[in-house]
Each structure stands twice: as C-alpha cells, then as structure tokens.
Symmetry: none
Subunit: 220 residues, 4 copies
C-alpha cells in the first residue's frame, strides 16, 4: 500500500465515520423533535434547527425528506432487529419464556421509540412503493424471533396453535398498540403491567392446558 493509498484510505474511513455521526445526529434530532412537537410538523427547517445544522447539510446526508422519514422508521426496525436477539442471549431455554422475553423486549423498544412508531403509521403514505415494501419486509422480519419461539413451543408440546403467524402478528400489534393508543393505556397502566397483562392474555390462549401450571407466573 502506497502512502497515498493509506491517506486515501484513512480519509475515506474518516468520511464514513462523519457520515454515520451526522446521520445519527439528525435521526436523534428528529426523534427529539417529534417527542416535543408531536411527530407532526417535522419540516426540514425545524429538523435542521433541532439538529443545530443547516438545511443544506441534511441534503448532503439524506437525499430527500422521504429519505429522512424512511431512516427514522428503519431506525426503530433496526433497534428491534438488534434488541430481540439480544434479549434471547440471557433468556432461559424454555420456548415460552423466550417468547415472553422477546415480547417484553419488543414492547420496550416500541416504548422508547413511541413517536417514531407513530410515524410508521402516519407517514408511510408519503413513502414511495419500494420503500414501503422494504419497511413491510423489515417489519415481518421482526416477527421472526416471536415466530421461532412459538414454533419451538409448539414442537415441544408447550404451546397449541395452528396459526403461529397470526399469533406473532397479534403480539406485534399489542406492542404497537402501546404507542398507538398510549393515550388510553397509560391512563391506568405503566409499561410493565401492560406487558404482563397482554402477555398473560395471549399466553392463556395458546399454552397447552396441561402445562399451564408451569407458567402460572406468566399467566398471572
């Protein structure tokens, strides 16, 4: 490697780092802004002001407003893609408990990205078809960890369902509902009790009768 190549390499790395740093800075600003102003009124001007950069700069890192929106949404999905497997790292072997751990992690991520989650429902209209498809795909991928535990549970005879897909999606909906209907749920519950209640309800529908005693703690 020549000296020039080394410098070039270092420069490119630095540039990539800066780019990542900027993206994060902007995404965080977007989250902060939505938290404060309510996930509406996310104009490029407002975003620039919140991030402490110029509007022009945003266009250096994102091609369009749609790009920013997309990135914010993907950010939640990325967080889920990271958090769900991580939650399983120190979870027990038991598929039902793994399912519980996954659902808990799901809800926790949604809670910390409440406004971005709303954005998924509100603004995905302004995304083009391709991106909308990609988001759907990513969302489906977040269902996989739930589905895996479910299927394992069924294989082991712990759970009973002939439609794991539907169950998984219902669980996802329950998690999303925490963001979508927080005005309702937070009136009488905090996140922990919401998770417990929903989990109990869902599990009661699928835990095999003869194993219910074993999960008494989860079924309330």
């Amino acid at each position: 490697m020549t000296q020039a190549e080394t410098i070039d390499h270092a420069q490119r790395a630095a540039r990539r780092t800066l780019a990542e740093h900027r993206s994060r800075q902007l995404l965080d600003a977007a989250a902060r802004l939505m938290e404060r102003e309510g996930s509406e009124a996310v104009s490029m001007q407002a975003l620039a002001a919140e991030a402490g950069v110029s509007v022009g700069l945003i266009y250096r890192y994102f091609g369009s407003k749609e790009d920013v929106l997309y990135a914010v949404i993907v950010d939640v999905l990325d967080a889920l893609a990271t958090a769900l497997p991580a939650a399983l790292d120190d979870a027990p072997e038991d598929p039902v408990r793994r399912l519980a751990a996954t659902f808990t992690a799901y809800c926790t991520v949604i809670d910390s990205h409440r406004h971005s989650t709303l954005l998924t429902y509100r603004e995905s209209k302004s995304l083009d078809a391709k991106r909308r498809e990609r988001i759907k795909e990513l969302e489906l991928e977040t269902a996989q960890p739930l589905m895996r535990s479910l299927r394992d549970g069924v294989s082991d005879g712990l759970l009973v369902t002939d439609d794991a897909e539907l169950v998984a999606y219902d669980l996802i909906l329950m998690a999303h509902a925490w963001a979508l209907k927080s005005w309702y749920f937070t009136k009488t519950r905090d996140l922990t009790s919401y998770i417990d209640s929903q989990l109990a309800l869902a599990l009661r529908g699928i835990v095999a009768p003869k194993h219910r005693a074993r999960y008494a703690d989860l079924l309330r």
Copy 2:
C-alpha cells in the same frame, strides 16, 4: 297550514335532503379518493374533482378541511355505533355468542371502511384537541357492546378475565388491524377466516376451561 307554509316546509325539507345528499356525496368521494390514491393526496382540489363539484362548494357543507376529515372518521364510528347494536338484535342470548357476533360486525364495518379507518391513524394529527378528544370518546363507546358481552359472560361463569377493558380493546385492535395491515393479512386470508381465527385465538384465552366444549365451533 297555509299554502305558503306548506311550500316553505317542503323547501326546507328539500334543502335538508340536499345537504345530506351532498355531505354523503363528499364523504363517499373522500373514501373513493383514498381508496384510489392510497389515502394520500386528500387535497381539497382532489376531493372536489373526485366528487365532481367545485372547491367552493365543499366549504358550504364543511367549514374546513379538518371538518371533512373529522366527518369521514366519525362516519366509521357512526357506522359502528349503528351496526354493533343491530348485530345483537338477532343474536342468541348466550354472552359468548353475542361477543362473537359483535366482533364479527365490528370487523365487517371496518372492512367496508378500510380507508377511512386508516385515516383515523394517519390524519388525526391534523385535528384540533377537541375533535381528537371526541374521536377518542366515540372510539371508547364502540368498546361498550364488546365489554357488556364480556362482563355478562364473566357473570355467567362462561368467561374468565379480570381485565375486560383490555380484552375489549384487544378485540378492537384486531378489527383495526384488518385495515392497518391488510397488505399482510389479505395475502393468505379473507375477512371471514380472519374473523374466525382471531375470535378463536381471543376466546381460547378467556373461555372458562369447563365450558370450552360448548363453544367448540368458535374455538375452531
């Protein structure tokens, strides 16, 4: 009643009819528009074009764009307020079957107002606080028929749950999900099988073990 009064009366009636006709025409156009354009591009221009009237005319029947949006959303809630009690008219006495009938009606209404339902999630941001509150109230009212059947079922020892509110809301979410995630669910299901599956799943979580046999048809 003099002749003049009769005419006056007739005219006023005609005018009221026209007003209702126009409102309906506009609301239907809004629904159609969202159906075709994907619930984006709900501009007053587009709405006027779709309804085949002028922009100005919309403002004779609705005070603002917000008014139109609100009316579209309330329309769904009104349909629910009408359909849910109606569904119970020729439902059996059994609370569990009444619950099933209510949920079925709920899903059916949502299905026929799929795009308006999406609007509730997408555009309620552009509604002022008062209207947003009113919509929440109306939505909660749609939970009442579900809740009533649930509580009756619990009183009769047919159902077991200590959180009827949560169960009711989960059922509503499942109904809404048919609109929100139709891109996913319609891939492998039609409305009827969606209703059956969700109902089976939900009921399995709450039907008292000793009465499960009685509802074998509902629990699949």
Copy 3:
C-alpha cells in the same frame, strides 16, 4: 289613455316604488352591518343575510358589489345635499351664523353616517375611475353651501380670507375627522363640543377683527 296603458303605468310605478324600497332596505342593511362589523367584512353574503334577502336579489337592484359600495357612499353625499340647504331654511340672515349652521349640519350628518364616511376613505380604491370622479364631484358640491356663506361674509366685510375654497375644504375635513379619528376625539368630547371647538377655532382665523365681539358666542 287606454286601460292597458293605465295598468302598464301603474305597474311601472309600483315597480319603481319596489325598487326604491329594496335599495333603501339594502343600503340600510349595509349601514347596520358596517356599524356592527366595522365597515370591513361587507361581503355580499353578509349583506344579503343582514337585509333578509337572497344574494341573487341584490344583483337585481345593484349590478355589482361596486355598485352597492358606490350607492352607500353617494347616500352620505345625498344626505349632505339635502341636510345642508335644509339647515339654512331656518337659519338667520347673517352669513357667519349661516356658515356655523351649515358646518353644524355637516358634522351632524357625518356623525350619523360615520361608518359610511369611513367607507369613502377605505374602499374608494375598489371603485372605477368614473365613479371615483363622480364622488369627488359630489363631495365638491357639498362644499358649495359653506363656500356661499363664506363669500357672503367676505362681501359683507364680516369675514376676511382670500382663499374661501381652502377654508371650506378645511371645514369639511374637520367634519370628516369626526368620523376618521373618532377613536381620538370621542375620548374627551361629544359631538356638540367638537363642533363648537372646531367652529371657534376656524372662525377666529377668518372673522374680521372689528366684528369679533358680535360673534363672541361662536368664538367661545
């Protein structure tokens, strides 16, 4: 005169009467409306509502909104054209006292048409050149009675001025000012004391020194 002609004649007269009645009704409504809403917001719709007729009907008696505006303004000028000569009917022979009587009548008419007077200043922009000219002419005509008294006073050696035109116009301005700056003048004065003060001030500038004693009452 044939019978047909008689009927025709009677009909035409009735029609003319109706037309006059309608015009008056509308002009009065306009005045009332401006009084209440502040001489802005005089839309044809609002005018129709205030007059208790339909918008369409206004167009039967006035060709356009401009016509209505013009008629309202001319109404004030007509009132002046009637009131000023009338005020001189039972005024003394003395030119100075006739001047005082004319000014008093001028101010009184302006006071009772305060909002229409404002309209002259505010909306004459939206009148076409021809009408604007006509209004100027009519306004100049309202200056004539003042001018006549002034000139008579000068002939009789009671008044001293070589620019009766300017004095007359200043008096008109003082009268208009009661409408234009009522927010200021009404704070400390009523119409009568306003007239007295302005008259005293104006007369002190033009009454011949040797006749001042004679008008001590007017000069305060």
Copy 4:
C-alpha cells in the same frame, strides 16, 4: 478575538445588513407598487413581482401580509419621528416659528410618503387590534412636537388657545389632507403654497392679536 469569531461576527453583521436591505427593498417596492397601481392590488404576488423576489422570500422578512402593511405605515411615522425633531435643530427660538417649521416638515414628509399615508386610512382595518393601537400611539407622538411649540407660544403670550390638543390635531389633519385630497389640492397649488396657506389660516386663529404684526410673513 479568534479568527473564527471574527468570521462569525462578520457573517452575522452581513446577515443583519442583508435583512435590513431586504426589508427596505420590500418596503420601497410596496410604496412603488401603490404609487403605480393606486394603492390597491397590494397582493403578495404583486409585491414580490415588484420587488423582484419570490413570494416565499417576503415571508422570511415579514411574518404576514399584515406585517408588511404595518411596516409600511410605521415607516411614515418613523420618518416623522425623525424629521420633526430634526427640523427644530436649525429653527429659531421663537415658538411660533418653531411651530411653522414643524408643520412644514410634517407636510414634507407626508408628501414624500403620500401613498403610504393613504394606506393608513385604507388598510388599518386589516390590522389586528394591538397594531392598530400602536399606530394610534405613534400618531399621537407625532403630535407632540407641534403641541410643545404651541404650549411654549401660549406661555410666552404669543399664541392664544385653550385647546392646544385640538389645534395640533387639526394641523396634522391638514398635513394628511395633502395626501388624502391631493387630487383636489394639487389642481391649484403646489406643496409650498399649500403649506403657506394652511399655516396662515391656522395661525390667524391662534396668534395673539397684539403680536400679529411680528408674524406678518407667516400670516401672509
């Protein structure tokens, strides 16, 4: 001061200068536009076209159309607030001559802002209550220099009046009249002779009889 700070400082100064430049450019364009179009058609489109900028840019410097209107009006009042004291700098000590100098300056400013002055009468309706109040206050302040000279003249026994406020306001009206009724006055007079005539007329009403000889030049 570091180099960066210097640059920063310079940039901010440049920006302030640009902002002032733009405001002036827009205010001047507004005046020009009204001059040409007769103070009607002051639409944001027209203003932008006249100023040679885009509509959007106007909103960077003024929050609303009302803001622009207000600024144009305040511009005249500012010009008066500057010009009236300045006129007294090289005026003689004599209160009557100072009064004359102030009135002359007042009329001169009005003459050079004729169209903006009309705007005060025509468009103040479209200003909100707060701004309307502020304009009234500023207008009253322009009366102060006149009032001061008047009171000084009364103290010195040169002028006689028990209502300096009214006299001052009449002088202001006379100045405004040059803009309001220029169609009439400019037919036979130029600004200078208008000022002389009005001043002579006003002073004749208030100069103490025994001092009239001293101001023969002003009283004609």
